[in-house]
């Protein structure tokens, strides 16, 4: 229990620290949904705003590229919660070269003496200049360089991370309390227990050696429930998907990466752990000169392989969750593009509903895949050590390890 609590808090803390925020360029003006674009757009087009999806000369046509931009913008993190037309400001906390700052909302930041919001057009350019757009939406009024900014603001994504955590803590504590007294599971207890048993029997036991499987169960359960809960929260209307943010998925993958390496060092010892970078060549019976050449080739490959695994984990979860939301947004956007109610009901609604149901499957599948691959990676590390000392393998785990390599 304590380990699980520890891991949950580690996720939270890392999630806060690692995620530099992807902020939207006009935090106070971004429409919350496609429906709002439609309802508010005509007035905006009269103002002739550059960023508007409605072309200023003709009010009945839409620029598809700008519509796509709006969909992408909708997926980005914001410093306030949008509920259609209601905006709930979230606190802004950050630490930069000038010390620690706290503002209760973006408006308060704009009103402060030291900081102001960036000019939207310049901010867009600055974001495009960086690969993932990690630029703070504010700058010093005196124009000084702020240096490294540690952004600890409670953004929309972080808010929903905390929501996921609270929901999970409630559900698991209810289930945990019932499990002590009741033998036959029912209700919440049944829901959680069936998932826990599934993770244990289908994911962890076939991949990780039994000796370590029970010790590592809390970690796998934590990532499974955490990712599953976040993915599902993202499917509620008017919410954000924190797993659709690279920072969150990077953090999760780093956790798995660290665990894998620690398990490797613990089971093999440091010397054996370093030797496994030769891909098993060090113990092969081949001429020494050939061995050295092969090792020189193998070590860089194995070393790159070390980092492609967490990178693949990161990208898979991020891209899956983002792609689904973009597709739903694009399908809803079709109704706006065709300017027709018939198209809306004949194309947008049924297709968006279909993708939405598919997303429900993907939400569960990605949690499963992430946990499964984490278990496989950890299992490989534990397994390599195991291989040298005994010949007893479970047929199951062997096949899976072979495939994963």
């Amino acid at each position: 229990m304590t380990l699980r609590h520890f891991l949950a808090s580690v996720f939270l803390v890392l999630g806060f620290f690692v995620s530099p925020v992807l902020a939207s360029d006009e935090p106070s003006k971004t429409p919350a949904s496609a429906s709002e674009i439609k309802s508010t757009a005509p007035e905006k087009s009269e103002e002739g705003r550059e960023n508007d999806i409605w072309k200023s000369e003709r009010k009945d046509t839409i620029d598809a590229g700008k519509l796509f931009g709006k969909i992408i913008q909708h997926l980005e993190d914001t410093y306030e919660l949008h509920f259609i037309s209601v905006k709930v400001p979230l606190p802004i906390l950050f630490n930069d070269g000038f010390g620690f700052h706290y503002f209760s909302s973006l408006e308060n930041l704009e009103a402060s003496a030291d900081y102001k919001l960036r000019d939207p057009v310049k901010y867009d350019e600055q974001k495009k200049a960086k690969l993932f757009g990690f630029v703070t939406p504010w700058e010093r009024r005196d124009g000084k360089e702020t240096g490294f900014t540690l952004d600890l603001s409670v953004t929309a994504n972080r808010f929903f991370l905390v929501v996921a955590m609270v929901v999970l803590l409630l559900l698991t504590s209810i289930a945990g309390r019932r499990a002590k007294t009741v033998l036959v599971p029912k209700g919440t207890h049944n829901l959680i227990e069936s998932l826990v048993v599934y993770v244990r029997d289908e994911i962890v036991y076939p991949n990780v050696e039994k000796k370590w499987a029970d010790k590592l169960m809390p970690y796998f359960l934590t990532i499974f429930f955490f990712i599953f809960a976040i993915n599902l929260i993202g499917l509620f209307p008017l919410t954000k998907t924190p797993t659709g943010n690279l920072a969150v998925t990077v953090t999760l993958a780093i956790c798995t990466f660290i665990l894998t390496q620690i398990m490797g060092i613990r089971t093999m010892g440091l010397a054996e752990y370093l030797k496994h970078f030769t891909g098993g060549l060090h113990s092969m019976d081949i001429p020494l000169a050939m061995k050295i050449v092969l090792i020189m080739i193998m070590v860089p490959i194995e070393f790159i392989g070390l980092f492609t695994k967490p990178f693949a984990l990161t990208m898979r979860l991020f891209a899956n969750m983002t792609a689904g939301h973009i597709v739903i947004g694009a399908l809803i956007g079709l109704a706006l593009l065709f300017q027709s109610i018939v198209a809306g009901f004949a194309v947008s609604v049924p297709f968006a509903l279909f993708i939405y149901l598919l997303e429900l499957l993907v939400a569960a599948l990605q949690a499963f895949v992430f946990t499964m691959l984490s278990a496989v990676f950890v299992g490989m590390m534990v397994h390599e050590h195991h291989e040298e000392h005994s010949e007893h393998h479970e047929a199951d785990s062997h096949v899976i390890v072979e495939v994963a390599i």
């Binding site: 693949a312 891209a319 895949v369 496989v376 096949v399």
Partner: protein, 75 residues
Amino acid sequence: MNPSAFAYLSAGLGAAVAVVGAGVGIGKLATGALEAMGRQPELSGGIRTTMIIAAALIEGLALFALVICIILSGK
């Protein structure tokens, strides 16, 4: 022609090629898995798990390409 048009074009073409590759890969994988399950239904549980892992790895490659395309289209 606007230079950014080429970025959009290459992003679209890149996404298409990546998806074709992944589609062929996952299709072959599913064929193999279904045949194996048909021959030995008692092993279908293990085969399904292995299939999902392999599918996830193939999908991961396709998603790398798609992310590059998205970044390209954002430029």
